[in-house]
């Protein structure tokens, strides 16, 4: 697999303080999540890909082209949705996107056509003709996403795409991003400190902390099943079941809001004993599977905070 983004021992500093510290990583195609706490270096990573910040040490190659030397060529294939709120108050979303398209180098007709197309895609409806000063945060997020995909980039960089959104708006934006990530030959990098957002969209994650890559890999490899933990859902007599399970030496907790039971078996006990307890209590086992490690656990472990 050819690497789309290649960082070799990259160090980026702001006023002498390293924001990225000796980062070496190669990222291929697909949806990739950049995870890390605030100030970890996620935005700096994205800005280095864009050529906004320059490495004081190491090399950066995007699509095999060195950055920032060939930044203009690289930016033909890049789409970027910044974290900060963006607005062009006196113009409509259509006019703004047409302008963005023309800056990209599109003909006026093409830019206008694509502006309507992507605004329709991000569900802006008739609001697209209103001036942007009247837009809500959610609508501005959609405009930001629309301008990023306007020229159909091969690499889409989304910095905190759900910033400031209500739960519904968040889901809608994440669904759009997931849909974009399914397009052929499109790589999406989503930077976020919200683990569910990354899990919703991405197959791979890169965890960054204090300017260093602390872990990278597929999400499914991080969330491996843990053999001593089990997820269970029981019907009828579940209170009695929990009581009995605890009496038998298991640790048992109720998960909210799914009402699932998380049971930790002591090493000497086997799984069959749980079913025997259920039979004794007259409880129906409706769901049973080894519990997977959550991305949050993996993240905390990578950050050294398990």
């Amino acid at each position: 697999m050819t690497s789309i983004i290649e960082f070799n021992d990259v160090t980026v500093k702001y006023n002498g303080d390293p924001a990225l510290d000796g980062v070496t990583i190669a990222l291929g195609a697909g949806a990739i999540g950049l995870l890390g706490p605030n100030g970890a270096g996620k935005s700096t990573f994205i800005k280095t890909v864009l050529g906004f910040t320059r490495a004081v040490k190491g090399t950066v190659n995007i699509f095999g082209m060195p950055m920032p030397d060939r930044a203009i060529e690289v930016r033909h294939s890049l789409g970027y949705m910044p974290e900060i709120e963006v607005s062009s108050p006196k113009v409509s979303a259509v006019a703004f996107l047409t302008y963005c398209g023309r800056i990209f180098g599109m003909r006026r007709v093409d830019a206008l056509e694509r502006a309507h197309e992507v605004l329709n895609y991000v569900n802006l409806g008739d609001s697209r003709y209103r001036t942007m000063e009247t837009y809500s945060t959610g609508m501005l997020q959609r405009v930001k996403l629309a301008q990023a995909i306007l020229h159909d980039p091969k690499l889409l960089l989304l910095d905190e795409p759900t910033n400031g959104l209500d739960p519904d708006g968040r889901i809608e934006i994440l669904d759009l991003v997931s849909d974009i990530a399914k397009r052929p030959n499109v790589t999406v990098i989503v930077s976020s400190h919200l683990l569910p957002d990354v899990q919703h969209v991405c197959k791979q994650v890169v965890m960054i902390d204090k300017g260093k890559v602390v872990h990278s890999g597929a999400i499914c490899d991080l969330t491996i099943p843990r053999l001593e933990f089990y997820e269970m859902r029981v019907r009828d007599s579940d209170i009695a079941f929990v009581k009995e399970v605890r009496a038998a030496g298991y640790e048992c907790a109720r998960l909210h809001p799914s009402n699932m039971l998380l049971v930790r078996a002591p090493h000497e006990n086997n799984v069959q004993a749980l079913f025997q307890i259920a039979r004794t209590c007259n409880a129906q086992v409706r769901h049973f599977q080894p519990a997977r490690r959550s991305l949050e656990d993996a993240f905390l472990q990578a950050m050294g905070k398990e």
Binding site: R75, Y80, I103, D152
Partner: protein, 291 residues
């Protein structure tokens, strides 16, 4: 239930790689044209142009027609005479409204992009800081020249058309060059200074106030120095008067305000332009390349 899959098409077009600054010029002018105040200011600038047009028509048509009853009035009226001084006076009077228009158009041009966080969006596209700076500067220069050099040159052409002949042509062939040169001297420093303030300050109001304050302070200083030291050459400290001194040379006007060589005034203008340009380029470059 939607009857089609909502998506967007692939873009296979070949993007234009050059003259991206032209897009910025076009967009800025289009946005400005939406504002009523801007239209009003342009109208005021046009009124002066219309007055000069009437002056040319009066001199070239009425004053040259011995049978016309008003001929005697216009032929002996000094202010109706058409010569290089007419165009110098036209541009000199047009300077104030040009400055106001440029201030209105340019004070928010860069600071609003910073304030609305648009720089990251623009520079994530294949747009360089040079394209951006050139686009903003050329917008103001084009706007300024459209109310100074363009009408000036057209008025000279009209003068030649209404009063055809080798005499008029021989006398006026260099006027368009002087008009263009003096218009550039009025427009370019004003545009660059306004953009420099716009890139340095957080809002268009601050930028406009800063430009006006600098202009007032510098004109007052020139007047004070000239008055206190009883030396008229100190008027050259005042930027508008330094421009006027160059204008007098360009239009071969002998009614000079002070005797200091125009070279010094030109050097002063060049230094101001270079400082303002350096500020604009530095700020815009920093927006694209943060570290």
């Amino acid at each position: 239930m939607p009857i089609y899959t909502k998506s967007y098409r692939r873009y296979d077009g070949q993007p234009r790689r050059h003259f991206r600054w032209l897009v910025i010029v076009e967009q800025e002018l289009k946005t400005l044209a939406k504002f009523r105040v801007f239209k009003g200011l342009i109208l005021v600038a046009c009124l002066h142009i219309i007055l000069r047009l009437l002056q040319i028509v009066a001199y070239d048509v009425l004053a040259q027609d011995p049978n016309h009853p008003l001929q005697i009035v216009f032929a002996n009226l000094d202010i109706a005479y058409i010569g290089p001084a007419t165009f110098f006076s036209f541009l000199y009077l047009q300077t104030t409204i040009t400055f106001i228009i440029l201030l209105y158009a340019g004070a928010g041009m860069i600071c609003n992009d910073f304030k609305n966080n648009l720089m990251e969006i623009y520079f994530s596209k294949p747009l360089t800081w040079l394209d951006y700076s050139l686009g903003k500067t050329m917008t103001l220069v084009a706007l300024g020249l459209s109310i100074t050099a363009l009408p000036g040159v057209l008025l000279v052409v009209l003068h030649n058309l209404l009063l055809p002949g080798m005499d008029t042509l021989t006398a006026s062939w260099w006027w368009p060059l002087s008009i263009i040169a003096y218009s550039l001297l009025i427009v370019v420093p004003a545009a660059l200074c306004i953009l420099a303030c716009s890139s340095l300050l957080p809002s268009q109001n601050y930028a406009a106030i800063a430009v006006i304050m600098a202009l007032v302070a510098n004109s007052s200083l020139g007047g004070l120095l000239a008055g206190m030291l009883r030396q008229r050459n100190y008027f050259a400290v005042s930027f508008p008067l330094a421009l006027r001194r160059i204008g007098e040379t360009v239009f071969q006007d002998n009614r000079v305000l002070f005797t200091l060589s125009w070279y010094w005034c030109f050097l002063y203008v060049i230094v101001v332009c270079l400082v303002a340009l350096a500020i604009v380029l530095r700020k815009v470059r920093h927006a694209e390349i943060a570290s």
